[in-house]
């Protein structure tokens, strides 16, 4: 009945479209070249003012695919009209303008042929898909928006536009005026500010707000110095160096490190790993290189030695595989621990990466292979068993290896690096969260303090990042790129945590300027998924590493220890203290 009333009210007050901009395309994901054409509108309804984006009806007409490097071409061309409709419907939205907290606006580089884009960020921490204005201007939309809400550019980040909550800003301002003038002025000041009269001009207001912000910030810094973070806030890191990603390692370059018998020159191993660290691998090299990076093949092993051992490992695999395959239904009745593990594997295989073409469709044999690998791992490490998240680690391995035996032994190698994440007590996850918090405190104390003030400094909003090494945050191909970089063990252990720091650092203004609390932070971080640029993040993380290692004598000992830098490093390496880009000291 409530709905009836609602409908009645709506029919009396018709919706009024204030502005409708066609040719606004939604981008599906950061590495996607897919832009779904659609229309952006601002509508006044009886229930409020809404910003809406809908995909255009005619999908085939202007479904755009640019192909800068084209490796996603197959994903796109395989989409049927139904899938397109589905994609469009999935990202369509309608939001109350009062729920808008801020938006990021990106202008294309001059002459790049790109389009300006806007990404709306909601008060609950969620973000809409980025919208690209193919008519090249966002100003008519923003102008209209300002008819309902007040907007202000973030002082820290010119690309971030914040919705100003007039009431609270005015209140804050008047409070700060009270502080300055005693309480005598209260009667005059508050009404004049709150009433939005001409007495205080917009510019005057903005100037006052700026001053207020500055004063706040000074206060915050001041209290930091007095508080327990004294040591940290005093630590001035050197400026972050500007780095760049290098080209992916090519087959020719890779082979130049190889000796004639197929093993690798031990003298140059570090150099090879640094090359992979800085540029990743060409896709065609992965099948060969991942075996080495994951420890399935030894670097000093010749081709014939490896082939011999591989045959032996294949036998072991078949042996363990037949163990679980031969368990009969009757046995299962008295083998509950096995049945439990089996059912977990089955549940997860069915829903792992099913949107990736390699795993798409019913009766896909790759699902059987994935199942076999994971079940055999259960027999290999029955105590650990199968834990959710493992299928995320196994699926790219199968995609690259295309062979059960190779996938399995690569997976064993990968689990060597990550199995502690899956232990029952979760102690290793907690440890990493603590280390992450310490690192944020050093790299970005402002953010660390903010997180603490929002009771979010347990860092659990990064749980997914750390558990499955960003598998859920990046596309399948970007995940491959990120993982091979991490597997090099360069330039330091726990580089994963520096990647976390780099991403959080890039979100500082959004989190603080939007005043996100615990739930909003979690939601915002979750929503970054598929909208992160892997190359930018890797260079930022590397740059942070250089900042830290240049300050090693000032860093707390425990941080040097787990990043393995400086004199307190566990490593017996005694390298010179100078930290240039090419001098890496750790040996893993």
């Amino acid at each position: 009945m409530d709905n009836d009333l609602d409908t009645m009210v709506r029919s009396i007050v018709p919706d009024k479209v204030v502005i409708s901009i066609s040719d606004v395309a939604a981008k599906l994901g950061e590495d996607s070249r897919e832009y779904i054409p659609g229309t952006l509108t601002i509508i006044e309804k009886s229930t409020g003012v809404f910003i809406e984006w809908k995909p255009s009806e005619d999908h085939d007409a202007s479904w755009v695919m640019t192909s800068e490097d084209g490796y996603n071409a197959e994903y796109v061309s395989s989409r049927s009209p139904e899938q397109k409709r589905d994609c469009g419907a999935r990202v369509a939205f309608s939001m109350d303008v009062n729920d808008l907290s801020s938006f990021r606006i990106e202008e294309p580089k001059r002459g790049s042929g790109g389009f300006p884009s806007i990404r709306l960020i909601c008060r609950d921490g969620s973000s809409q898909v980025p919208l690209f204005f193919r008519n090249l201007t966002t100003s008519e939309f923003i102008d209209r928006l300002q008819g309902y809400i007040t907007l202000r550019r973030s002082r820290q980040d010119a690309n971030l536009v914040i919705v100003v909550d007039q009431k609270s800003e005015a209140l804050a301002k008047s409070v700060s005026m009270l502080d300055e003038n005693g309480d005598i002025l209260s009667d005059q000041v508050i009404p004049s500010v709150l009433n939005d009269t001409d007495a205080v001009t917009q510019e005057e207001k903005i100037r006052l707000m700026r001053e207020l912000r500055l004063a706040e910030e000074q206060m915050r810094v001041h209290s930091d110095a007095a508080g327990e973070f004294e040591v940290v806030t005093q630590l001035d890191l050197p400026p972050r160096p500007e780095l760049f990603r290098e080209l992916a390692v090519s087959k020719e370059l890779w082979n130049s490190y190889k000796l004639s018998n197929g093993s690798y020159d031990p003298e140059k191993l570090r150099h090879l790993k640094m090359n992979v660290f800085r540029g990743g691998l060409n896709a065609e090299l992965r099948k060969e290189a991942w075996k080495l990076l994951l420890g399935y093949r030894q670097w000093n092993e010749t081709d014939s030695e490896f082939e011999k051992r591989r045959a032996e490992l294949a036998k072991q695999y078949q042996n363990m595989k037949s163990q679980w395959m031969s368990v009969t239904e009757d046995q299962e009745k008295r083998f509950s621990k096995f049945v439990k593990r089996k059912s977990l594997v089955e549940k997860d295989v069915a829903r792992t990466d099913r949107t990736v073409p390699f795993f798409k469709g019913e009766d896909n044999m790759n699902l059987v292979h994935l199942h076999n690998v994971l079940m055999t791992y259960v027999m290999y490490n029955f105590d650990l068993g199968y834990v959710q998240g493992m299928s995320d680690f196994a699926s790219p391995l199968l995609f690259v290896m295309k062979d059960e035996v190779d996938t399995f032994w690569c997976f064993v190698g990968l689990m060597e690096m990550t199995h502690k994440n899956f232990e029952k007590d979760q102690a290793f996850i907690k440890l990493q969260m603590n280390q992450l918090r310490d690192l944020v405190m050093i790299v970005n104390p402002k953010l660390a303090n903010y997180l603490e003030s929002e009771k979010s400094d347990d860092m659990y909003f990064c749980f997914r990042w750390v558990l499955v090494w960003f598998k859920r945050e990046f596309s399948f191909m970007d995940t491959c790129k990120l993982w091979e970089v991490l597997w090099t063990g360069q330039p330091c252990p726990r580089f994963l945590l520096l990647i976390c720091v780099a991403i959080l650092d890039s979100q500082t203004n959004i989190i603080i300027d939007n005043q996100f609390g615990l739930t909003e932070i979690l939601k915002h971080i979750n929503d970054l998924s598929m909208h992160l640029k892997v190359d930018e993040i890797l260079t930022a993380a590397e740059a942070i590493f250089h900042q830290l290692s240049a300050s090693q004598d000032k860093l707390p000992a425990h941080i040097c220890q787990y990043l393995n830098i400086g004199e307190s490093a566990v490593s017996s390496n005694s390298s010179s203290p100078s930290r240039q880009r090419n001098e890496e000291q750790e040996d893993l």
Partner: protein, 209 residues
């Protein structure tokens, strides 16, 4: 320069009380927790919905006669291994949906454990609902409706069989919870209700469809 009133966009009609509640979904893995939320919040269903790692957070607003209820929904990972994280998510929750799969007897046992845990550990006034999901495959049913219904009655739980796939009873179970939540006036503060119309709280405009 543009004319506007201080609170935000103008709306006709008197202020409707908007209350915010935290709701958590618990239950064994792959029973359909994320799918129920996705259906309720976005009206969608993905056959191969990926497993949830950590927790996901979504919001949805529903309208009652006299109030607008904003659900802050925490969708959790189901596997036993991540059980230790659960208290973090149900702490302070005013509502919970414990989900099982009607084709999986064990998931029903797990659901009972969750109910027990919530009765012991969660807020004493928590509104609990039991959802027997995957009702669209009732031909493979191993948990009888009567059995679950009797259990729910004994434990004063709301109970419905649902299907995220067909959307059967999905909105209904959330609405039923909304109706049981205390939307009392501000006198006293029996619950953790946040009245969004209070000053300094963000004013909430949207209403359900």
């Amino acid at each position: 320069m543009a004319a506007r009133n201080a609170g935000g966009a103008a709306r006709p009609g008197g202020p409707n009380r908007t209350c915010q509640f935290k709701l958590v979904l618990l239950g064994e893995s792959a029973v359909g927790k994320s799918s129920l939320v996705l259906r309720f919040v976005k009206g969608q269903f993905h056959e191969y919905q990926e497993s949830t790692i950590g927790a996901a957070f979504l919001t949805q607003t529903v309208c009652l006669d006299d109030a607008t209820i904003k659900f802050e929904i925490w969708d959790t990972a189901g596997q036993e291994r991540y059980h230790s994280l659960a208290p973090m998510y149900y702490r302070g929750a005013q509502a919970a949906i414990v989900v099982y799969d009607i084709t999986n007897q064990e998931s029903f046992q797990k659901a009972k454990n969750w109910v027990k845990e919530l009765q012991r550990q969660a807020s004493p006034n928590i509104v609990m609902a039991l959802a027997g999901n995957k009702a669209d495959v009732a031909n493979k049913r191993t948990v009888e409706y009567e059995e679950a219904n009797a259990y729910a009655e004994d434990n004063a739980l709301l109970f419905m069989e649902t299907s995220a796939k067909t959307s059967m009873n999905v909105n209904d179970i959330f609405m039923a919870i909304a109706k049981k939540l205390p939307i009392g006036p501000a006198q006293g503060e029996p619950t953790g209700t946040v009245d969004m119309n209070q000053p300094q709280q963000q004013q909430k405009g949207s209403c359900c469809k």
